[in-house]
Symmetry: C2
Subunit: 310 residues, 2 copies
């Protein structure tokens, strides 16, 4: 029997290829919680007393983040300062299941939950947007991403949060870096450094899982018996992100640890590319942050709901 390399007592249930460690269930889970705490401290993500909104979709990553952060706040903060915010995109048959999962999980953990919908915020839900969009070039994921980021901000503001956390993991981060690189979008690389930027709105955005492998979060969720939605979004489009995920996974299989190497390089690169956020003008329609005259949310709404309608 292979014994855990940490506690030297319990049987190993996970082999961490990049470090060569065998870990038991308990030591593995503790290592994930410690990594998240280390990331939070290394990049000054949270201060004592700050109120944190976690974007919780109902997938394995966000429910695991909620679980880890609940423990973190129980140990180091005020548990009442933690709120789950969930966005209902309005996708029939898909989102309903996850809303139930989130509701039950939050009540089990004793965490406050807030749900906001695209429909109430923007006047249009995703099922409608897919019909209204002027062209298929307006991809489902780009519309939804634009709305979701704003919706999470609005939900966080509505509960008076100081900080918003999302469950992006290391794999997501590495893929996003590559997408920005392939798209020629070098400015965005400078915004990818894990230390949060203070936005004009004053909201800090943090990613406590940014240094954790996707597959380790999946294993954590399994060990903690976290119930998660596994069904995929019906509007998900195959994209370069899928190609990149497969490419990095096959590289990692052949060279354990290479994804983490890549992550570290990318972090160094984005550190050197960091520039103070442009204090860009406000959106002329909604008054929120915008790099041009009109923010991307108002542009998308106008394209869907008719010219001049914001």
């Amino acid at each position: 029997m292979q014994v855990c390399d940490k506690c030297h007592k319990d049987p190993s249930s996970y082999f961490r290829a990049y470090s060569g460690e065998h870990l038991c269930k308990k030591c593995f889970c503790r290592s994930i919680e410690e990594k998240a705490a280390k990331t939070i401290s290394r990049y000054s993500m949270l201060k004592y007393g700050e109120k944190l909104a976690i974007g919780v979709s109902g997938g394995k990553d966000s429910l695991s983040l909620l679980h880890v952060m609940k423990k973190f706040f129980d140990d180091h903060g005020k548990p009442e300062n933690l709120v789950a915010v969930t966005i209902d995109e309005g996708i029939k048959g898909y989102r309903d299941e996850s809303l139930d999962i989130v509701r039950e999980f939050c009540s089990k953990l004793g965490v406050q939950s807030k749900v906001l919908s695209y429909k109430e915020l923007f006047g249009v839900n995703m099922d409608e947007a897919m019909v209204l969009r002027p062209s298929e070039k307006m991809s489902s994921c780009s519309m939804c991403g634009t709305f979701r980021r704003r919706a999470i901000d609005l939900a966080a503001e509505s509960i008076g949060a100081d900080v918003v956390a999302t469950a992006h993991n290391m794999d997501d981060h590495v893929q996003t870096f590559m997408i920005n690189l392939l798209a020629g979008d070098v400015e965005r690389i400078g915004w990818m450094y894990p230390e949060p930027i203070e936005y004009i709105s004053g909201m800090k955005k943090i990613k406590p899982f940014v240094e954790i492998y996707e597959r380790e979060i999946a294993f954590y969720a399994m060990q903690k018996e976290i119930p998660f939605q596994s069904e995929e979004c019906p509007y998900m489009n195959e994209s370069i992100r899928t190609d990149l995920r497969q490419f990095f996974n096959s590289l990692e299989d052949a060279h354990p640890g290479i994804k983490y190497n890549a992550y570290r390089s990318m972090t160094k690169v984005s550190d050197r590319m960091r520039r103070p956020m442009q204090r860009a003008g406000k959106c002329q329609v909604c008054g929120r942050d915008a790099t041009g005259d009109i923010c991307s949310v108002c542009k998308t709404r106008s394209a869907l709901l008719g010219k001049g309608i914001y």
Copy 2:
């Protein structure tokens, strides 16, 4: 019949997917020569009157570069300032063929050719090195790369060159950027900017093909009926470079122009990462540039020829 989009006369023989252009043989070849000239001028690679050594292996890229640069020097310089330098690694059955090709091609073009061998420079050739290496972890390509870079420098110095050109193309550049990123070697990314760094030795190193797709150089070589060695080196090891080549080629097929986007982003990144070359010490053995006490060439020789023997 599809007519050339440039001259509107001759039939198209090449479709440039990333720009949507159809080009005839003549206009295609001219576009390659103009791109190389533009790259040379954009990054101040050459000054009038400078003597240029071109590293010529006998493959399609380096013979095409020799062809393009001969034309460039005929038009803009002194043709006698151009010399081909070729390195004989000492690989039986493989290198002999290419030495003949290089010799014939240089004499046809009327370009001076200089050949130097690993054996005479370092006391060991590749066939011997493969037997002498202490472990298979010392890969053939890394030994050979270390020796080749130094050998080209020495050959260039021996003919009094001011500048050394190699035929690295855009695909090579993009792959190398990724290899440095995956290896966590962020310093090297700062050295990748196409504008040449002045080394301590005073030699400038340039890559006039760095903005040209590999497949376009292959097509150029075909059009110009440049005879090249197509046999692969018997010691070539499958590496991450091969995986990256395949990955970027399949991306490019699906999204024409994405490789060039990636190239431009990488150039912006390396520009921002640029730092003056460390004025590091000299190698304690051979007196040439070294980042540590002993340069990589002397370290490799010592590993092959015995401890303390440099």
